[in-house]
């Protein structure tokens, strides 16, 4: 309608001429064609053609005008048809394009819907690893809004320890080395918690060349992970528990297993005090080597009372408890220190034995961590199993310790110990014994022990003790002599104890074997020392007795001599005597005084000789002459004895002290006379023999008993037995004689037989040099 109005408006305005109106009509037709339908355009074109024709007809002008108007109308119509055709074509094309676009939009919508509705997280990341497109599910998995994600690189939302491997994978994908990568890793949710995901990254198909797009597919595997973790955790804990280790050995493995399978960083075992006053840290484990020192120190110093804080509550209640986020917790005793150490969450598991909480396992993580019901169940089970394990371990350990103690006694005892069977076979020998006897065990069992057993039985039978295998109940000891592998001989003291079986028969025997060689030797030495001491004492006593005897003898001799001296001098003093009497008595007095003088001289001589103060005066001495003189002198006083001389005329002159040698000879001669109370023959002989002058004084008198012959030269010793008992003497004569002979470098000895007489022999060196050292010594 507007077009028709426009035609009439144009007609009215262009009353001037059709040529002027034509472009206007054309414009209207074009507009109509564009704006309105094709029919309207054609109608408008028809109207415009009529309008062009009308003026010439009305005015009836020139036929030429009519023709041109008609031409204009035809052109107009043709143009209108053409325009509408074009417009229609264009319209159709546009409509077709619109339909296509709608189809694409619908398809995309469907795809998007599918993407959004997918149960897996899907996303595209660009070459830099930034999220380009993210589906709803992925946002849910990562706990973040999609828009938030679009600003982050994929690595940013991945747990720190998984970033490296992810980065590598992305690089490989970008370079085209691989087209697809799959892994399981942890990603960080918007609230900071971690979520385990199965991730697959592939080169996006049909992407525009030059632009790298990667298709990321993720699914939340936390449920599976947790279940797997729980199962594996329980398996790991049980494996440790049944592994035969002691509690002390097993603790680090238990704590590390719990941490590994539950994705935790630090674990501590708190044990309840025996008096149940407090929990104290006994064991500690953490994943990383550093960063927890302060926390650890804090724990070490801590004593947590029952009911106090999370641990105290768990101890009290026996129920697993957790704090998901320490930054919000205020009843965790170590929260400040834990936070400072970067720990974010804690789980506490009661360790229960026979219904009693004996400790608490504290598990900490460096990230917030919630705890699910199934975890609580599993951890409760773990707590009970660990509790039973601790008790078993304690019992086992106590047994082992007891066994170890006994073993140590056996192994390290300073005495040898063997265990032998009821049949007498060596079952076990401790190292001390093997070292003591210098045998290896096989030799010990094969030969050394049977020998020792025989020696034991022999020694036991001597002591009237039972043989070893007869069943010894109380340790009777025997000492045996035994050779070692090294060829030594030891004294061993064996003490046996039998250990009966239930029926009372000796099941096996323990024999303790001590090396008492030193003791034996010491006691032997002691006995020897005692014996020699006893001997010395006896000698002292004997010496004491002989001294007393000597004193008695000396005083007897003196008093006997003094009896005459005193008595006769008293007679002389009292007067009234004949001159003959006085003379005779004076003679008795003189003789006895002389005898006393000799006795005193002997004693002094001996004393000087024994103390080394006597010197000998050397000179030439004719031994034969000395003997002849002695015979002559003795012959005048002893009437009952016959003297015989057997002097070697070729005997050289010796060098010596003549007076002393005379003393020797006269002493021997006097003895010979004294001990020949029934008379007999005294023979004096000389002989040169081997550089010595040998002098012998032989009598046929009483002789010297064999038990006394060894002592005749000892001081104060006199033969007092039998017929000789009353023969007086000082007991010094032979002692002096021996001293003098030895001072000359000679020797003196005696041969004798009771009833046949005695022969005293002495030597004097013929060479003067031999005298010199003695002379010098005694000078």
């Amino acid at each position: 309608m507007a077009a028709i109005a426009a035609v009439f408006a144009v007609q009215a305005a262009a009353g001037a001429g059709p040529v002027l109106a034509f472009p206007l009509y054309l414009t209207v037709i074009l507009l109509t064609a564009l704006q309105l339908s094709r029919t309207e355009s054609l109608v408008t074109a028809g109207l415009a053609a009529v309008a062009i024709l009308i003026p010439p007809f009305v005015e009836g002008d020139l036929p030429g005008n009519m023709v041109s108007a008609l031409l204009l109308a035809v052109v107009l119509m043709a143009a209108a048809v053409a325009i509408t055709g074009v417009v229609r074509r264009v319209r159709e094309t546009a409509a077709r394009a619109q339909r296509h676009t709608d189809d694409i939009a619908a398809s995309e919508e469907r795809l998007r819907m599918m993407l959004e509705a997918a149960m897996v997280g899907l996303a595209l990341v660009d070459a830099e690893g930034r999220w380009v497109q993210v589906n709803e599910r992925l946002g849910m998995i990562l706990g973040r809004h999609r828009d938030e994600l679009l600003h982050l690189p994929i690595e940013e939302v991945t747990a720190e320890n998984d970033r490296a491997v992810l980065g590598e994978a992305l690089a490989l994908l970008r370079s085209g080395d691989i087209v697809r990568w799959e892994a399981e890793l942890n990603q960080i949710r918007g609230d900071g918690t971690r979520v385990p995901v199965a991730i697959a990254i592939g080169t996006a198909p049909g992407h525009i060349p030059g632009e790298t797009l990667l298709l990321v597919q993720e699914s939340d595997i936390s449920a599976r992970k947790r279940l797997d973790g729980l199962r594996d955790c329980l398996v790991a804990v049980r494996r440790v528990i049944v592994g035969g280790a002691t509690w002390e050995q097993a603790v680090p493995q238990l704590l590390s297993s719990l941490c590994a399978y539950l994705d935790l960083d630090l674990a501590q075992f708190w044990a309840a005090d025996p008096d149940r006053q407090a929990l104290r840290v006994r064991h500690y484990w953490h994943r990383d080597p550093e960063g927890f020192e302060i926390f650890r120190e804090h724990s070490r110093a801590a004593a947590i009372p029952m009911g106090f804080g999370l641990l105290g509550r768990v101890w009290q209640s026996g129920v697993v408890a957790a704090l998901e986020n320490l930054s919000e917790a205020n009843d965790y005793s170590s929260s400040d220190v834990a936070r400072a150490a970067g720990l974010k969450s804690v789980i506490a598991i009661p360790v229960v034995d026979s219904g009693v909480v004996i400790g608490v396992i504290e598990l900490l993580a460096g990230h917030p961590r919630s705890i699910e019901d199934d975890e609580v169940t599993m951890l409760s089970t773990v707590g009970v199993e660990i509790g039973q394990f601790i008790r078993r371990s304690d019992t086992t350990q106590a047994l082992r310790r007891s066994e170890a103690d006994h073993r140590a006694i056996f192994e390290r005892s300073p005495i040898g110990i063997v265990r032998i069977s009821g049949e007498g076979d060596l079952v076990e020998a401790n190292p001390v014994l093997l070292a003591m006897l210098e045998y290896d065990f096989e030799t010990m069992r094969g030969s050394a022990w049977p020998a020792l057993l025989r020696a034991y039985d022999q020694a036991a039978s001597r002591q009237r003790l039972a043989p070893l295998l007869a069943g010894i109940t109380s340790g009777g000891s025997v000492q045996v002599r035994a050779g070692t592998g090294g060829g030594k001989w030891l004294w061993l003291q064996l003490t046996a104890t039998s250990i009966p079986d239930s029926s009372g028969r000796p099941e096996h025997l323990l024999v303790m074997i001590e090396d008492v060689t030193a003791v034996r030797e010491t006691s032997d030495q002691l006995a020897e020392a005692l014996e020699s001491q006893r001997g010395a004492n006896a000698n002292l006593e004997k010496l004491d007795r002989t001294k007393t005897e000597f004193l008695s003898i000396v005083s007897h001799e003196f008093r006997t001599a003094l009896t005459g001296i005193q008595g006769f001098s008293e007679l002389i003093r009292d007067g009234g005597l004949e001159p003959d009497e006085v003379r005779a008595y004076g003679g008795y007095i003189f003789n006895d005084a002389d005898r006393i003088n000799r006795l005193i001289g002997d004693m002094l001589d001996l004393d000087r000789m024994e103390s080394g103060r006597m010197s000998i005066r050397t000179g030439d001495v004719d031994i034969n002459e000395v003997l002849s003189e002695a015979m002559t002198r003795a012959g005048t006083s002893a009437s009952t004895v016959e003297f015989k001389g057997d002097l070697d005329p070729r005997l050289p002159i010796v060098v010596g002290d003549r007076d002393r040698l005379i003393q020797v000879v006269s002493n021997l001669v006097n003895n010979a006379i004294k001990y020949s109370p029934d008379g007999g023959t005294v023979t004096l002989s000389t002989r040169a023999e081997g550089g010595y002058a040998l002098v012998s004084v032989t009598d046929t008198g009483l002789g010297i008993p064999p038990d006394e012959i060894g002592h005749v030269f000892e001081r104060f010793r006199r033969v007092r037995s039998g017929a000789a008992q009353s023969i007086p003497g000082t007991g010094l004569g032979l002692t002096i004689v021996k001293q003098i002979v030895e001072m000359h470098g000679g020797k003196i000895w005696v041969e004798s037989a009771v009833g046949h007489g005695s022969a005293f022999h002495f030597t004097v060196p013929l060479v003067a040099e031999n005298v010199t050292p003695l002379q010098r010594r005694h000078a």
């Binding site: 008695s552 005083s555 007897h556 001799e557 003196f558 008093r559 006997t560 003094l562 009896t563 005459g564 001296i565 005193q566 008595g567 006769f568 008293e570 007679l571 009292d574 008795y588 003789n591 006895d592 109370p677 017929a723 008992q725 009353s726 023969i727 007086p728």
Partner: protein
């Protein structure tokens, strides 16, 4: 003389001096004879026993250290036959213990050598007096 000796209490008072030392023999004989006693001499123990048993002296003055049997043995043998025989031991063994030893062995008195002549005479005189 044996007859006289047998009676003991009659006749002269006889002293047997048993001593191996001739000086002592001489001294005792001289002193006792001078004092009016008869003196017999024995030079050893066996002789002393023989003389004592055969001649029954009034008393015996007995030395101890003599050859053969000593004075104590001689005294024992004599006392076995003649328990009443007074025997005085005159010994140069003159320690205190010796005196006890001799008395215990049966001696009637002990005279230590050397002795004062007056002591010898007094001991004999006392025994002579006892006999009466």
């Amino acid at each position: 003389m044996p007859e006289e000796a047998d009676t003991g209490a009659t006749g002269p008072f006889t002293v047997l001096v048993a001593d191996d030392n001739d000086v002592a023999q001489r001294l005792c004989r001289r002193v006792l004879e001078k004092a009016g006693y008869q003196v017999l001499i024995a030079a050893d123990g066996l002789q002393a026993v023989e003389v004592a048993l055969n001649q029954h002296p009034s008393m015996i003055l007995m030395d101890v250290a003599m050859p053969g049997i000593d004075g104590l043995e001689a005294m024992r043998r004599i006392k076995a036959e003649l328990p009443e025989m007074p025997i005085v031991i005159a010994s140069a063994h003159s320690m205190a213990s010796d005196r006890e030893r001799f008395l215990a062995a049966g001696a009637d008195n002990v005279l230590s050598k050397p002795f004062r002549l007056a002591d010898l005479v007094a001991i004999v005189a006392k025994l002579a007096l006892d006999r009466k």
